[in-house]
């Protein structure tokens, strides 16, 4: 068990760093989705399945979706302004 915990903590640390080092916003939304999934697995490994489920649905699905939709809208607005 402790091995799993150590592994997932390392993965989460690497995932968080990867999110910060991804500079393009669209790619960042996808990386943050994977990071959310990693956090979900972490909560599961630490025996908090309820939180894990919430984390997966919010962090891996809802949050990246909102970021993508907001980015699309900003892009559209910028294009309109250029015309």
């Amino acid at each position: 068990m402790i091995v799993f915990q150590a592994f997932i903590l390392l993965f989460v640390a690497a995932g968080g760093t990867a999110v910060v080092f991804t500079r393009d916003a669209t790619s960042q939304a996808i990386v943050v989705s994977f990071y959310g999934l990693l956090l979900g697995i972490m909560f599961f490994v630490f025996q908090a399945p309820d939180v894990a489920l919430s984390q997966i649905v919010v962090g891996a699905m809802a949050l990246p979706l909102m970021i993508m939709l907001a980015l699309a809208r900003i892009r559209k607005q910028n294009r309109k302004r250029q015309q």
Partner: protein, 250 residues
């Protein structure tokens, strides 16, 4: 701000953050220890007293049901806020701006994505409802199940088109479902008061622990929350898609 000042500013704040972090870290209980008295009590009473096998649901929807009511309305209000911000104003009428950007073409959705989204659509809906109605038995509940359910319209968008999403999830219908779900929570609480109990006091028969009908009122509250959450997230998706589609249709 020059680079030097920025660097100095960073070093000072990083040092302060590190100090606070290690100070807080030193005060934490040892790894794997430090469960609270509250947690022990909840673990001890959730099955014998409330007939709910998922202690987290017992806390969220029964022991501290009133807190969750507030949380539900945080989501309700934020959805309202998004819809209010994205609403059409007078100077941007619907569908009359053409896409004049040169060389801009929306890439077609690949067949692999279409097939996978189509295959996942029905299981997603079933799984979402499964998570909603099993809140009192296994991890999950109205919130988690609701978000899973709201990913179904997104899958439909991926394997079909926006008009199909609108056809399957008519905004007016979703709005009503969301409002019903949000109101349901208060109605259930009010019904308890009308029946002579306290607000959200679990008055229904508690049933056999570990079955679908256990937990008294908890499954009903979960159903309401499931409707509210899935409706809220679907509405946000619809509002954004509507915005982005206008351009393509015209």
């Amino acid at each position: 701000m020059t680079r030097r000042i920025r660097l100095k500013f960073f070093l000072v704040s990083a040092a302060a953050l590190a100090l606070c972090f290690f100070w807080g870290y030193a005060g934490l209980p040892a790894f794997g220890h430090g469960s609270s008295i509250y947690a022990d009590i909840v673990n001890a009473i959730s099955v014998p007293q409330r007939h709910i096998t998922d202690a987290v649901t017992a806390v969220n929807f029964d022991i501290r049901g009133f807190d969750t009511l507030g949380e539900e309305f945080i989501l309700f209000t934020s959805v309202l806020g998004v819809i209010l911000l994205m609403r059409r104003t007078k100077d941007e009428p619907a569908g009359d701006h053409e896409d004049k950007a040169p060389g801009r073409k929306v890439p077609p959705v690949s067949d692999a994505v279409r097939v996978i989204a189509l295959l996942l659509l029905a299981p997603t809906i079933v799984f979402g409802w499964y998570i909603v109605v099993h809140g009192q038995v296994t991890p999950g509940g109205g919130f988690q199940g609701g978000v899973i359910l709201s990913s179904a319209p997104l899958l439909l968008y991926l394997c079909g088109s926006y008009p199909k999403v609108r056809g399957a999830a008519a905004p007016r219908l979703i709005e009503i479902a969301e409002a019903l779900g949000a109101a349901g929570y208060i109605v259930i609480g009010g019904a308890c008061v009308a029946l002579g109990g306290m607000f959200l006091e679990n008055l229904l028969p508690l049933g056999k622990a570990g079955t679908l009908t256990s937990g008294g009122m908890v499954p009903f509250i979960n159903l309401g929350v499931g409707l509210e959450v899935s409706g809220g997230f679907t509405l946000i998706l619809l509002v954004y898609l509507e915005e982005l589609m206008e351009e393509k249709e015209s």
